[in-house]
Symmetry: C2
Subunit: 286 residues, 2 copies
DNA sequence: TTGCTCCTCACGTCACGTGAGGTGGC
DNA sequence: TTGCTCCTCACGTCACGTGAGGTGGC
């Protein structure tokens, strides 16, 4: 004759509003052991009072704590401080999740607004990434037209090839500042750079230095320089919509592509160094 | 001599800011196949222009879309409507996630506030669940003291046992309304019920009926009726803090426990039927 | 004896990360 | 030849869900 207050796993699961599989899992995990296990049949038996521990587990699970941390928190000898530390870490985490989800929601809403225009796709895919410091050889000059960058690139290329660099080279352009009158571009402070693997000597006007590390919003454009303007526009819009500001020279990387018979469109990555505007306050939800 | 515009997987991974493992995965999944695979070595080769597809994938991934849906969205022949449908579904999902995380944050903050009192644990674990319709035999009466419920229970028990029910019985009390003067309880409209497995005839004053299905906030208390008041208080606080309102008679379930030698504390589950107050507006994040 | 409950594996989930052990590229 | 890159398994992640195949309880 068994203790009449013991419940079979199915009954206990019903009372506790969890599945039998969950109780199996907690048993195996050591979170909530049955009060009694029949050694012959393996049947698990729970007491009603174990509902309290189960509910505590479920409440902590609703805080999105993983089972191993719940196990920690349920130890009888846990200190007030350890407890607090774990919850505070989780609190920070949840705040971040909320922010990330809000960004997601904003993105989704933008896509859906765009879909109103009956186009299935946005023209540009804009992402954020950190860029590492990049060693380059470069020339910096104030010029009045983008076409002037060709000769600049030729000069830099000749310089690095003279110093033994071989193979295809990507072409980087940095737009340090520009000066407009009546929406017309008057001049650009432009730097034309080629990435290096090893340090070369600087030699006026060629400067060998590191481009600084930045957080950039970027997109990749396929097409000639004329159509490139649309990508710039898309990036600028995206940046202001998402509450960022541009903090440094825009970079434009033209990936080297050999011309192999057919016409290949140039592929260009455009990077806007950004930082967050002072973000909206996050409320504690109280 | 291979096409000089082809990149090895490592280079492509660096450009695209993803891991090689990710590219392996997308290849296997069919999301992004290398332009060329060397049949002898198995080496994967990508073209720079495949960066555009990769970035599209990454953007959609930031919307928290699973890979199979991304694959759908990337099909050339997807219609404007299918596209919209998928994004709208995801939008709803994200809104729900945000709400859930906000609740979590509120809970965490409450715990941390409570911890200020240097107690490691909250006294009560409060959860929400739906309760199914429950067939019971019951007596309903206006009484002036909780002690009067004992005889009511005895009456109902005698009735159901007379109709053949056996074994231990849980005791349910429903508090339909109460009347207070100067914070002093004057009378309670109380229903004492015993759950049934099969329908019995009703017979005045015994009524056999279904308790309605409800969403309830509940907690489990271990201790006598006097200490029970604290659990009620905790529940009431929790309900108002979380923006719910009580919509029906509070239920109190005393689980049957045989007395086996030692003293066992009674275990009682208290359920407050609730509904949400008109919730705060969710913003689209724009 | 017949359902019903419970048992123990074992595999699946999701999008990769992380070795192990081996080979190609230059 | 030596590093370096890349290859293909295979297993792990997290908290269970879901059978399959077998046995106990009443």
């Amino acid at each position: 004759m068994r203790n009449p207050n013991l419940l079979r796993i199915g009954e206990f699961a019903q009372l506790g509003h969890v599945s039998i599989a969950t109780l199996h899992h907690y048993d195996e995990y050591g979170l909530l052991k049955p009060l009694v296990i029949d050694p012959r049949t393996g049947y698990r038996y729970y007491s009603i009072s174990q509902l309290l521990r189960l509910n505590r587990i479920l409440v902590l699970k609703e805080l999105a704590l993983p089972l191993d941390e719940i196990a920690l928190l349920l130890q009888a000898d846990i200190s007030y401080h350890q407890f607090r530390t774990i919850l505070e870490a989780k609190q920070r985490e949840v705040k971040q999740v909320i922010e990330a989800e809000k960004v997601r929601l904003r993105q989704l809403t933008l896509w859906l607004q765009h879909l109103e225009g009956k186009e299935a796709m946005l023209a540009y895919d804009i992402l954020i990434k950190p860029v590492e410091p990049l060693l380059v050889a470069s020339i910096r000059n104030r010029i009045s037209h983008m076409y002037e960058r060709g000769p600049l690139f030729t000069t830099v290329e000749a310089y690095v090839r003279k110093h033994g660099m071989q193979g295809p080279m990507d072409e980087i352009v940095l737009l340090h500042s520009h000066h407009e009158i009546h929406d017309e571009l008057m001049s650009i402070e432009m730097e034309v750079a080629i990435p290096l693997e090893n340090v070369l000597p600087s030699n006026e006007p060629i400067r060998v230095h590191f481009l600084p590390t930045e957080m950039v919003a970027y997109t990749v454009h396929s097409g000639d320089d004329i159509s490139l303007g649309r990508a710039y526009l898309a990036l600028q819009q995206w940046i202001s919509t998402h509450g960022y500001t541009v903090v440094d020279a825009v970079r434009q990387i033209r990936f080297y592509q050999a011309t192999v018979g057919e016409i290949t469109l140039p592929i260009t990555e455009i990077q806007f160094p950004i930082k967050k505007q002072p973000p909206c306050e996050i409320s504690t939800g109280l």
